[in-house]
Amino acid sequence: MRNRALHIIGWPALAAALIALPYGLSFSQQEVLVFLTINVLLVASYRLLTLTGEWSLGHVVIMGVGAYASALYTKELGIYVPISMILGACTAALVAMLLSFPLFRMKGFYFLIGSFAAGEIIRLLWKRFRDPFGGPKGIKKIDPMPDFDIGIYSFDFFEPISYYYLALVVVGICLWIMWRIERSPVGLTFHAVHWQDKLAEAAGVNVRAYRTLAFVIASGFAGLSGALLAHYIGTVNPNSFDIEMMVFVLTWAIVGGTATFYGPIIGAIVLTILNEVVLREMGFEQMRPLIYGLLLICSVLFLPKGLESVVQKVLARRNGSGAAAAGEEQA
């Protein structure tokens, strides 16, 4: 079987490429790579949320909830960093659960703006309550991931390469879990809730419960990405999770396309490389936002189905019809 062959060769090849990748990069590109890996988790979790048809503007704040929570657990309670990261993710999921009660009374555009308001309130609370959130300056000197040695490789988490490997493993596992969720009956119900919500309801599906479930799971992964970020840069503050950052996540998802699992990931990778590496290297200091804006407009105008549609076309041409699914899996 062709698909099987692709799996046997494709996955190890991809893994090897990802492991070798940082050695071909400069130091600052390695730093960008770390943030990019974390953002891949963020944007993939965002897609999970959008599966049910709801677009949130609070996702980055939820990421911040994970970051703040994990930072505070290590600082205030002295919890071991990897465990506090998981607790941070749980906290984000819990906060999302609480928010879902008011938010899922709304749909569509109202939900979009409602989630924005909820996020802004959380940010204002961070600013207002200096104890324990540190006010506008946020939290500093968050404990880093403790260094360790696994025999063949010794991890020094100041080094971007080390943290990249950590993030790669964590993000890889999370992506795999999200992929399994999407392919499970639960995930298929998410799709049904999006495309046929009246029908799903008529078939006895509790639409609101499934929306909430998607929101909570997605928020958990977003919280984990926030925790990964917090323990790398060692600081969190309310401004890092503002609407501008949210706009970036939104554009990654939409420019990449959200029909496939890999669409938003491609969007995040391509746009980050363009903005952080290409445009910076070309020295467009003040013009950078302008060119980035132009790129956004061009991509939605000329690639309305997202970058993923390009990948699909290429794969379809190479593998013949019907192999698009294989391409999806490979990514």
């Binding site: 677009w55 008011p102 009374r105 709304m106 749909k107 569509g108 555009f109 109202y110 979009l112 703006i113 409602g114 924005f116 308001a117 909820a118 802004e120 309130i121 204002l124 609370l125 600013k127 207002r128 609407i243 706009v247 939104l250 554009t251 939409i254 420019v255 003040q286 013009m287 950078r288 936002p289 302008l290 980035y292 804006g293 132009l294 790129l295 956004l296 407009i297 991509s299 939605v300 105008l301 309305p304």
Partner: protein
């Protein structure tokens, strides 16, 4: 105390005026075209920079600069409609991203043309209407209030009394049915976009001498405008005006009697409460997702 309340009332009326201008434009665009114009704050900024260029730099009369601001920003709106929103009519999220891209372009152009520092706009007049020692209203603020009342009344008359207005309301209510009635969606979109952008432009132009004009000034406007249109109900022009007035009064009073940060929290919380109690906003009925 009476004086303090009176002055607070005047402050609130002014805030309500410019906020209504911005919010009504945003609602009009969303109502007719179904797209969230994230760049609306930057259209406001563009109006302010028109005044910077014409009035402050070229020393043309202020009211001329304001009029140009209205028309110029309206025309930019037409351009956005033609280049961005029309091709993306079936793709509201695409429209959202396009407006975000356009916002970044406008900001960057403002930075490159004028620099990151705030711009100086000389006062049009320093006259102040003195009601009593502690109750005063500066004339430039009166301009904004008068302009808001006149323009919004004119808009109301246009929507209720003219054929175009009728067509506009029809396509805001139900675009498909309106199209079946022979109403051109392109036509109504153009009108909505021109008026919506023009209102943001004139609000920016009129307030330019009163606020700090800088390339990022649109940011703070759009957040309050979102709150206002949500509370009012997204499709509703009347709702936008009522919510703008309510929000301005609440925010001003809380700022005066507690402080500004608490006022923001109160504003956002009120909005959430409204959404929870009546998820379509005070005046919203249609379920447009």
């Amino acid at each position: 105390m009476v004086e303090l309340l009176a002055q607070t009332g005047l402050n609130a009326i002014y805030a309500a005026s410019y906020m209504s201008l911005v919010a009504v434009g945003l609602v009009l665009i969303f109502g007719v075209m179904g797209v969230i114009n994230f760049a609306h704050g930057e259209l406001f900024m563009l109006g302010a920079y028109t005044v910077v260029a014409l009035y402050a730099d070229f020393q043309l009369p202020f009211l001329f600069a304001v009029a140009v601001g209205l028309v110029f920003v309206g025309v930019v709106g037409l351009g956005m409609e033609r280049a961005l929103f029309r091709p993306l009519r079936d793709n509201p999220l695409g429209g959202l991203v396009a407006s975000i891209g356009f916002l970044m372009i406008l900001q960057a152009l403002a930075v490159m043309g004028f620099g990151v520092r705030m711009e100086h706009v000389p006062p049009v007049t320093q006259e102040v209407i003195v009601f009593s020692e502690k109750v005063r209203l500066a004339v430039p603020r009166l301009f904004v209030i008068v302009a808001a009342v006149v323009l919004l009344t004119a808009l109301w008359a246009f929507l209720k009394k003219t054929r175009f207005g009728w067509a506009l309301r029809a396509s805001a209510q139900d675009p498909e049915a309106a199209a079946l009635q022979g109403i051109s969606i392109n036509q109504t979109s153009r009108i909505a976009m021109f008026i919506g952008a023009g209102l943001a432009g004139i609000a920016g132009a009129l307030t330019a001498p009163l606020v700090s004009v800088n390339p990022y000034m649109g940011h703070s406007v759009i957040v309050s405008a979102f709150i206002v249109i949500i509370v009012g109900g997204i499709g509703s022009l009347e709702g936008a005006v009522v919510a703008a007035v309510a929000y301005a009064f609440v925010h001003t009073i809380v700022t005066t009697f507690w402080d500004g940060v608490i006022a923001d929290i109160v504003g956002l919380s009120l909005m959430l409460v409204v959404l929870i109690v009546k998820p379509t906003g005070l005046f919203g009925t249609a379920d447009r997702a």
